[in-house]
């Protein structure tokens, strides 16, 4: 039996602990890290041309310009709305305008924003600005970015207020969020390159993937409060509202890869080994990664390969399923044979012939460098059908890049095909030509077409 006195003591202790945690989150946390070492490198009053050019390269590769420029707006003057599950924020003016831009900031202020996610006045910035990744940037790169930002024309465009659901945009909520999900980057206890990998390239690749490129901000699942956990970084995530799925970088059945050349080509041209960048990734390639120099693209490629958890090794579940399927082939119908008996499958096949086969081929073979093959197409067969459905709904072009300046396009079928028809043609494609993925339902198509109505 626990006495009332003990209970009271316990409750008081718990309350005390909670108060301490809250005080730490709201005041101690930021103060602790702000007083940490800053590695202040005095920036020359007039940055060198090389530094500005370096900064421009980094700003492109990190896609700063795209987010911080409004559609039809002036460069880096902010104004692009960013949707989050908790409301929308509007990107800020980074031009040297003294009133609305960064004109009164110092290089140290800028470093603090990237490294700690704090504004000049110490205000906590929204994590829609991916300081959680930029924290990894070196001081030298931060200074180069700063030099570039100071070189663009000042634009007197006031920053728009965020439109967040209360209490998510408040400084208190951001303080708690930071205490839960954010630690400023420290390079002291990091793993080094795996055996067999080119260590220099791998390290550079990690810096670009985890830091400047902030790839994992999209390619990771977020929890109910929008937080990223280290254990699930890179494991794939749905982008709020769009709802494109940024596939897992760890999984060979999704975006994981063992083909170095294919990744490099994908990042620099938007096409690699028969895979085409689509949706938001096409824009990332257009505005960002196509500008990567060969060395950096190669580094990213080396690092991305090291993230893959399920390269073809003994014990691979996919392989086991395939072996079981083939060993049972004589006694039981394969999934494909079963599904090919249904009227829905036949209708899907008919629709495929009518709408898709001209470009993607009678046997889903596609056309090299022009139209993606659908046989053995990972985007088509992923458990989450979002990207396949969105491709049919919206159509699309591969990004136009230096390596692929005049891409071919696919027409949208949003107005032509019903949800049921899209489900049929995709279910057919997911089980034809050796593909083995579960059929998708009309409801799944509906959820992707109208993400707002999803329950």
């Amino acid at each position: 039996m626990v006495s009332g006195r003990t209970l009271r003591t316990l409750a008081l202790a718990l309350l005390g602990a909670l108060t301490c945690a809250l005080l730490w989150a709201l005041w101690g946390f930021d103060a602790y890290y702000r007083h940490g070492p800053v590695n202040s490198a005095e920036l020359a009053p007039k940055p060198s041309r090389a530094q500005v050019e370096r900064g421009q390269y980094l700003a492109r590769v990190g896609n700063c310009v795209f987010c911080h420029t409004a559609p039809a707006g002036e460069i880096l003057a902010g104004g692009r709305p960013i949707q989050t599950p908790f409301g929308s924020v509007v990107t800020s003016n980074l031009t040297p305008d003294p009133e609305h831009g960064l004109g009164r900031w110092t290089p140290d202020d800028f470093w603090q924003a990237l490294h700690l996610g704090l504004g000049q006045d110490g205000r906590r910035l929204s994590p829609a600005f991916p300081y959680t990744s930029y924290s990894r940037l070196t001081r030298a790169d931060a200074d180069a970015l700063w030099a570039y930002l100071q070189s663009v024309p000042a634009v007197s465009r006031p920053n728009a207020a965020a439109d967040m659901v209360w209490p998510f945009g408040t400084q208190t909520a951001l303080g708690l969020w930071r205490a839960m999900y954010f630690r400023p980057y420290q390079n002291s206890n990091e793993s080094s390159a795996p055996a067999g990998a080119d260590a220099v390239a791998w390290t550079r690749g990690r810096y670009l993937v985890e830091g400047l490129g902030h790839c994992q901000e999209c390619h990771s699942p977020r929890d109910a409060l929008g937080g990223l956990r280290d254990t699930s970084r890179g494991a794939g995530g749905v982008l709020p509202g769009l709802p494109w799925y940024a596939p897992s970088l760890r999984d060979m059945a999704q975006a994981g890869t063992a083909d170095a050349q294919a990744v490099q080509s994908f990042l620099q041209t938007g096409v690699g080994a028969g895979r085409f960048a689509a949706g938001p990734m096409a824009e990332v390639v257009l505005h960002g990664t196509q500008h990567l120099n060969d060395q950096d693209a190669q580094g990213m490629s080396v690092y991305l390969q090291s993230l893959v958890r399920n390269k073809a090794v003994p014990g691979d579940t996919q392989a086991i399923i395939a072996i079981e399927a083939s060993s049972n082939a004589n006694t039981r119908p394969t999934p494909k044979q079963m599904s090919s008996l249904t009227p829905a499958h036949l209708q899907g096949e008919e629709m495929y012939k009518q709408h898709c086969a001209d470009c993607h081929g009678e046997n889903g073979q596609g056309r090299e460098g022009v139209y993606p093959a659908l046989a053995d197409n990972r985007a088509l067969m992923m458990d989450k059908p979002n990207n396949a459905v969105l491709s049919v709904l919206h159509g699309g072009f591969a990004p136009s890049t230096q390596g692929n300046p005049k891409p071919f396009g696919m027409p949208p079928f949003m107005l032509e095909l019903s949800n049921a028809q899209i489900a049929q043609v995709l279910s057919y494609s997911r089980s034809a030509w050796g593909n083995q993925a579960a059929p998708i339902s009309e409801l799944q198509v509906q959820a992707v077409r109208d993400p707002q109505q999803r329950r």
């Binding site: 559609p71 039809a72 938007g270 960048a277 096409a282 824009e283 390639v285 257009l286 012939k353 086969a357 001209d358 470009c359 056309r367 022009v370 919206h394 159509g395 699309g396 072009f397 591969a398 990004p399 136009s400 890049t401 300046p405 005049k406 891409p407 071919f408 396009g409 696919m410 027409p411 949208p412 949003m414 107005l415």
Partner: protein
């Protein structure tokens, strides 16, 4: 039976256009909806692209991509394309010469048609509405490089565009001259204009004029961000 299958096979083969590495192949994403001559779709009319001035088409691609014209499907389709390719697309469609179909037969009353024609050829100085011909050319087939023709478009589409300018759904680079003009038009005048324009036959020489016609006496020059002369 076998013969039937074989014939069906032949038929399907004839249907599939062979792949060619050209702009027609690249733009199947566009022509799937717009068709060669423009086409009605479930959510409105997809206007003809062939033979319009390249500058006009380019401006529309940029406006759609950047949201000055609000149509999310076009916006997402154009999002991954750079400026150079948008120009290439515009020039490709501008260079296509495809005949226009005759205008749809319609019965409209004579007063309405007369008001439409009046606005097109002389404007309405009292309402500060310039004549359409002042910029769109005396044959209304547009003027190079950026002013579109006004003929060969269905009435509903013209109504929708003028309405779009009135309520801000359709915008152009500032100064947005067509928005200013459309906002001075009453509903009856929009109706008169669209009725008259959509009832006209497109001339055999349907290309845009090389330059604007001389300014009519008393008319004022108009400044347009989308068509700086």
């Amino acid at each position: 039976m076998a013969l039937g299958c074989w014939l069906l096979g032949l038929f399907l083969q004839a249907q599939a256009a062979p792949f060619e590495d050209n702009m027609a192949q690249r733009t199947l994403a566009c022509t799937g909806c717009h068709g060669p001559q423009g086409r009605s779709g479930p959510d409105g009319y997809y206007p003809r692209l062939a033979g319009k001035p390249a500058g006009y088409l380019y401006n529309q691609l940029v406006n759609l991509q950047q949201g000055r014209r609000n149509y999310p499907l076009m916006q997402s389709l154009l999002a991954p394309l750079d400026d150079a390719y948008l120009r290439t697309l515009a020039e490709y469609f501008a260079g296509l010469q495809i005949p226009y179909p005759p205008p749809a037969a319609q019965s409209a009353d004579k007063t309405l048609l007369a008001r439409g024609q009046e606005l097109v050829s002389r404007g309405d100085p009292a309402l500060q509405i310039p004549a359409c011909v002042q910029c769109h050319g005396s044959a209304l087939t547009g003027t190079q490089p950026s002013v579109p023709g006004l003929l060969g478009l269905p009435r509903d589409y013209l109504n929708a565009q003028l309405g779009g300018w009135q309520n801000g759904q359709r915008q152009a680079q500032a100064p947005d001259c067509m928005a200013d003009i459309a906002k001075r038009l009453g509903d009856a005048d929009v109706h008169a204009l669209s009725t008259w324009l959509s009832s006209q036959t497109v001339p055999v020489v349907s290309g845009a004029a090389a330059r604007k016609p001389p300014l009519a006496p008393g008319a004022k020059e108009i400044r347009c961000g989308s068509a700086p002369w």
